[in-house]
Amino acid sequence: MYGDRSSRARRVIAVLTGLQLPALLLGVALGVVALSPDELLGALADMLRGDTSSQAALIVGHIRLPRTLLAAACGTILALCGAVTQGLFRNPLADPSLIGVTGGASLGAALVMVLAAPAGLALMLGLVSAGAFLGGAAAVVLVYRLATDSSGTSVATMLLAGIGITALSGAAVSLLEFHADNQMLRRISLWKMGSFDNARLPELGLAFGVTALLCTVLPRYASALNALLLGESEASHLGVDVARLKRHLVAWVALGVGVSVALAGTIAFVGLVVPHMIRLLTGPDHRYLLPASALAGALLLMCADTAARLLAPPAEVPVGILTALLGVPFFMSLLRQRRQFGLPAA
């Protein structure tokens, strides 16, 4: 009987795992210049031999493979962070981009960009990530303090705090644009819309390092997160050290969102839409929700990035705009149906 949902959850995870490689290959093959399966395999074989002279190998190795991989990493991070944030707030509307964590991370990154503009590019990446981490962490702590007490989370306060932080970070970024030179303006606009086209080796290294870290660490909190959904004191009666759990989760979410913001800008709603759809399939048990969300997030952003390149060639629709177009109607329908999903009233 209660094996029912867990065996279904395992099937969902298996299917999502199986879809990763096809999505990656599609992402690499499709674009302004579409590659046939033969060309794709040839290019991959060339790359393995270290030969990047052919046009196909150049497209695959320098452009499409890195950005598709970055999309997968950011999708994994954002979906995991969304699922964990929702568990932490005990509220399925608590998406990092809605409650201001993404905004706080953007603000942190923007400040670093102003202050550290003359630094070299590699150093810049590290500094911007650190700034985004600190901004994101400050935002989660602030929103949590404002919106949550022993009786639960106030949805209204949580979303309002998110609006405030997002507005503040928007103003700061505008100020930055006002002062920026051409090169910085390009960085900023890329980052505001959310895009994967600046994927190079250092970016990929950072993205996959953090993805691997989060995928290893966060599932260990699955049972404690399940207990936390019962309520904070109930979780502590079940032997969970709640204060420590919250500190850890805040730090991991800030790290994930911060790195994703630093690398690919604001990609909204992935952390809301993915865990929610997975919850409909597997139920809210974090032991299945976390891995399934990670896989589905990777899949969604790989497909979204591919779609972004195909929608209006040769121009690219920034992927952040695409996820917002998908996510906003979804969010509205969640707000409408809050009772049906067992959400507390605001």
């Binding site: 209660y2 005990r90 009666h237 032997g239 048990d285 959400l343």
Partner: protein, 262 residues
Amino acid sequence: MTTLALHDASAGWGACPVLTGISLRCKAGDIVGLLGPNGAGKSTLLRLIAGDTDLLAGSAELGSKPLASWSSAARARCIAYLPQASSLTFPFTVSEVVALGRLPHAGGRQCDMTLVEWALAATDTQPIANRLYPLLSGGEKQRVQLARVLCQLETDASGGSLDGKLLLLDEPTAALDLRHQQDLVALLRQLAGRGCTVLVALHDINLLSSLCHRVMVVDRGHGIALGTPAEVFSADFLQSLYGTPLCVSTHPTGGYPLVFPQ
């Protein structure tokens, strides 16, 4: 064997104690009822023992160790606590909620499943095992939470002794119908028979009278009476406690005192 020993204990938040000078000693197999007007401090006493509230003065021992020296994990294997209300809004199924009670124990999947089945049967929640918790009625939710707490109480599926275990229940019958109230009484007697100590806060004074070996009356943060229901339930005492006219009679077959409004 003494499961719980409170001596002159005060508890509360910050500087102002909600409870002062509480002394209570419970053995294995005791069923002790907490009675008192709204806001008297019954829930705070349960929270003190569950580790939610700080001990401000006096001593509180669980087993033979001070309560504060227990790690939260060890305490969770020893104390199971059913709070008054729950705030779970995520769409877990009933059996998933009940299985959360197994979190403190590492008995293996088979043992956990056996105990979940047992707890579902014991609380008559088996027919709703696959329904989603947030869509249940208040009484059904209360029975599901009770099943979760029962699951937490058991170390393994052997059905052996529960010596040293402590079950804390805060208004467990508030939303239950008569049949499920009586089921709960039988269940608690059975657990006490296996050595479990039960501490239960109840407003239903007649249910308390039929169930408990001893009653502790709490008023404005003080323990003002402790004894068997027959010793404690005099009309004069209860009238002054609640400030409303009452009369006391005896149950025709059970022999325990019954209390009615006049």
